[in-house]
């Protein structure tokens, strides 16, 4: 699993990357009440808005950590947005993306680097 400075995680299996928000991000957001996900087939671009997550506090944009085409969206989140808080790095995944270039993922932070980054915040 790799991590972005915007607190998304990416797990790559072949050329399919599963993307979600980190436990840190979920904790910062507070109770998630709504998640807006991109449609399957949509192209997402690294650094651009990919999804919106609403907590009881506010709406926050989720930026795509990598570029690719959405192959799956986690529709279970529409009925149970709380899953993002309960299991942010497992069942609370947002989308699966077919990546154009797997090297995008390799250059992201590993867990140790991400935890070191969190310690600086």
């Amino acid at each position: 699993m790799r991590f972005s400075k915007d607190h998304e995680w990416v797990e790559l299996a072949d050329d399919i990357a599963t993307i979600g928000i980190t436990a840190y991000a979920a904790q910062q957001l507070g109770d998630v009440v709504f998640v807006e996900l991109p449609a399957v087939g949509k192209t997402v671009t690294a650094g651009e808005e990919m999804a919106v997550v609403e907590s009881v506090k506010a709406a926050s944009d989720v930026f795509a950590p990598i570029s690719g085409i959405v192959t799956h969206a986690n529709d279970a989140l529409s009925d149970n947005p709380q899953t993002v808080n309960d299991a942010p790095e497992h069942a609370g995944w947002f989308v699966k993306v077919q990546v154009s270039d797997p090297r995008q993922v390799e250059v992201m932070m590993d867990r140790a680097a991400y935890e070191a980054y969190l310690a600086t915040l």
Partner: protein, 367 residues
């Protein structure tokens, strides 16, 4: 923590907004509302006749507000509105008449945090040298709200359960006088307690020692009052909205309206007979994300007809709710409208306010 009305306020405690909200509906939530503006207005020359002294001090405030202050019974609190010359709302506030015989000629006043300097200046100017305004915003003010609030407080002050909603009384806390009012802004039964600042920590810890009580922050305070359909000053009501537009007709005294002896009475008289261009409604989002303050409201054809003044996710209902202003022709319960959230049109329906029924204890059980 977040800045609010010039104070640093906790948005949430460790429980988090959602659980704090539900805890308050099920048990009791404790809120630090010391940012609000409590004050006392004391008549300078008292006659000793309690009723006459009350009438005299009430008459100094009445020209500023829409409510019947002269008619308050001993111990009674009333929600009322400070109005400007155009009939817009300067603030919503609570005014009370003390119960004690030796306290007549005195009013208890609680205004909002963000408006208190302006409010107090208006009241002091109206009182002139006939009454003295003593601000108590250096005191601790706490709200204990929820179905377990009365039982919790009964353990601190036996007999407190016998108070009716919208009344207040003085009680002792470790040798200090505290003011206990049975009121609140969550839709639940509850109390607001004013204590000297040095007693604040003791009172907070004493109330929290009860396992039925959890501390609740600004986030859940907002979602609770939204579910209760209660307007937040500066958001759902402001200097341009009138009491009738805001659905606060109950805060306009019939006697006062008849004598038209308060600011903006002309506008209110017209609006009372139905001449309104917009009214506050409740909206239940039928799909999609919650619409927040500022979101446009459109009719079925996509024409903009109004704006959301507060909105969010309702933990009790489990879906999005909002309040906003629309022309009266769109205000009937069941009317289908749309809310524009991040450029997307989402269906919504006009519903009756409050979203979640109030559970005030108007007539407490006799002991």
């Amino acid at each position: 923590m977040t800045p609010f009305g010039g104070y640093d306020m906790p948005v949430q405690y460790p429980l988090g907004i959602l659980k704090e909200h539900l805890w308050t509906r099920d048990h009791a939530g404790l809120f630090d509302v010391s940012h609000m503006g409590p004050a006392w207005l004391d008549l300078v020359d008292k006659s000793g006749d309690g009723d006459a002294d009350h009438r005299a001090v009430a008459a100094l405030v009445e020209p500023l507000v829409s409510g019947d202050i002269v008619g308050l019974k001993p111990g009674q609190l009333r929600y009322t509105l400070l109005l400007n010359q155009a009939g817009g709302i300067c603030d919503d506030l609570v005014i009370g008449r003390p119960a004690a015989r030796d306290q007549q000629g005195r009013l208890y006043i609680v205004v909002n945090a963000g408006t208190k300097d302006g409010d107090f200046a208006l009241i002091a100017a109206s009182a002139g040298d006939r009454a003295r305004l003593k601000r108590a915003d250096d005191h601790a003010l706490m709200a204990l709200q929820g179905p377990a609030a009365a039982d919790t407080l009964e353990a601190v002050w036996p007999g407190i359960c016998a108070m009716a909603f919208m009344t207040f009384a003085t009680r002792d806390l470790a040798g200090h006088n505290v003011t206990v009012a049975r009121c609140g802004y969550t839709g639940e039964d509850g109390f607001e307690i004013l204590a000297p600042a040095q007693m604040g920590e003791l009172l907070w810890n004493r109330l929290l020692a009860d396992p039925r009580v959890q501390p609740v922050g600004l986030g859940a305070r907002d979602s609770l009052r939204l579910e209760a359909g209660l307007p937040l000053y500066g958001h759902d009501i402001d200097a341009t909205t009138s009491p009738y537009e805001a659905g606060l007709a109950f805060a306009v005294s019939k006697r006062r309206l008849k004598s038209a002896d308060f600011p903006g009475a002309v506008r209110l008289t017209g609006e009372q007979s139905g001449r309104l261009t917009r009214v506050r409604v409740g909206l239940r989002g039928l799909a999609g994300a919650p619409a927040r303050e500022g979101a446009a409201i459109t009719d079925g054809a996509g024409e903009a007809i109004g704006v959301v003044t507060s909105g969010g996710f309702s933990p009790t209902i489990g879906g999005p709710i909002a309040m906003g202003y629309v022309p009266p022709m769109f205000s009937a319960v069941g009317t289908r409208l749309c809310l524009i959230v991040r450029g997307k049109s989402q269906p919504a329906e006009v519903v009756a306010l409050p979203f979640v029924p109030h559970r005030y204890v108007r007539q407490p059980a006799k002991f």
